[in-house]
Amino acid sequence: MNENAVVEISRLSKKYKRFELKDVTMDVKQGFITGLIGANGAGKSTLIKLLMGMSLPSGGEVRVFGQAYASHEAEIKERIGYVADDCSYYEHLTVDAMRSIYAPFYKRWDDRQFARYIDRFELSPKAKIRSLSKGMKMKLSLAFALSHRAELLVMDEPTAGLDPVFRRELLDILSELMLDERKSILFSTHITTDLDRVADYIAFLNRGELVFNESKERVFERYALVKADKELLDADVRRVFVGIRETSTGFEGLTGDRREAERLFAGYARIERPTLEDIMFFTAKGAEAHV
């Protein structure tokens, strides 16, 4: 096992009728926040379900804490706090009744911790789950995931449906958790600004394929957004770019080789640092984007 990795994914694939996750190899490093980005349908939830042992791979392997699901399913999940993209608790029950279901499954369940989070998130133990808004359900899910001293927090689109105030609070909570170097977080999102704030590593999935899994700094060192007049755009230049967006007067192109871009375009174009959203957009659209 890679000493620093809590999750090791090796040549993982999953075939559905209309979608395929292809040959993904990546890891999630201990003590860091890894953000999983990609457009809707890119395979983020599929990858997370495979990582949680809920989906079975068509090929490849997932090891969590150095162990395989086939032999250590319960032990692995004991150490994971999972926040799903959709609430799957019993809606007719109260928060407290759901706690009484959830808590006994975890040896290290901490009732005090749960009470603190419930209080912090302004959730009433007597509230029926069906009466909670989407954001409140997400908070409840988070309270459960954070109350059994999980070493790995896996969250599927946790910020979707949350108001900006709580989104910021959630990111603060994640940052607080990371003060403990033994903890690790993997969370998927398509709101890439969230990752700009907290992520250490970025894994980018596009159409079922892993484009990269690198430190955020390395991603921004490597990628560049080139803005220039259209006359520059010949066939050779096009090959430099991952994706190009053309307008009537000029173009914007994303390249995965900043140095090469600087060598080719210095003095002729503006070379900027792209946002994660730029990287997602240009990679997903390729050479198709036109305005």
Partner: protein
């Protein structure tokens, strides 16, 4: 496994009230020759179906799949819960029997054969229901589930007053009382293996 069964009991607690009302209705007010077996057996069948139904409605399998339990335990708990529901039915039937016989002074025959036949039918139902559910999913298996419930009710209609009519001599009646649950257990055992095989090869989704 215990926690998974406990989860179902908590999730179904409102439905237990429904079962109690049903037992009182058919045990005290609408008494028929089928009443003892209906009260004893139908809670097990109803609770099994209700449990699957609320699981489907809430996509709870996604939540269950994230819990620190093995897939084998998820399947085993489903089969284990049948015995909890069956015990509930038997307790209800015994209570209704006692109330009728000793308080209201109404005859309410409830014999070991009633118990045995109820247990066998409830186990046979689960033995068919669960593999179909694991194979097709709760949503897609609902028609088949309905069919199985209908057939069970029809069998109940045919067998409801059979224990009273059976004039078997003691050994064969005893054999029947002991043998029927044994057949039920055998069916459950085969069914569990089929369900497990199906579930181990499937993705857990809502």
């Amino acid at each position: 496994m215990f926690n998974l069964i406990r989860k179902d009991v908590i999730a179904l607690r409102m439905y237990f009230l429904f079962v109690a009302v049903y037992a009182v209705a058919f045990g005290l007010f609408l008494v028929s020759p089928f009443s003892p077996m209906m009260i004893c057996m139908l809670p097990a069948i109803m609770m099994t179906v209700f449990s699957s139904s609320i699981e489907l409605r809430n996509k709870s399998l996604l939540f269950i799949g994230s819990l620190p339990v093995r897939r084998r335990e998820i399947v085993l708990a489903k089969y284990g819960s049948i015995f909890v529901y069956l015990a509930l039915g038997m307790l209800l039937a015994a209570a209704i029997h006692a109330f009728n016989e000793y308080v209201l002074d109404v005859r309410f025959p409830f014999t070991a054969l009633h118990l045995s036949l109820s247990a066998e039918l409830a186990m046979a139902f689960a033995a068919i229901y669960y593999p179909v559910q694991f194979w097709l999913g709760v949503r897609n298996s609902s028609f088949i589930s309905f069919l199985v419930i209908f057939l069970t009710a029809a069998i109940l209609g045919g067998l409801g007053n059979l224990p009273g009519k059976l004039s078997l001599d003691l050994p064969s009646r005893t054999q029947l009382v002991a043998g029927l649950p044994f057949v039920g257990l055998l069916l459950l055992s085969v069914s569990y293996r089929i369900s497990l095989r199906l579930f181990l090869r499937k993705d857990i989704d809502g």
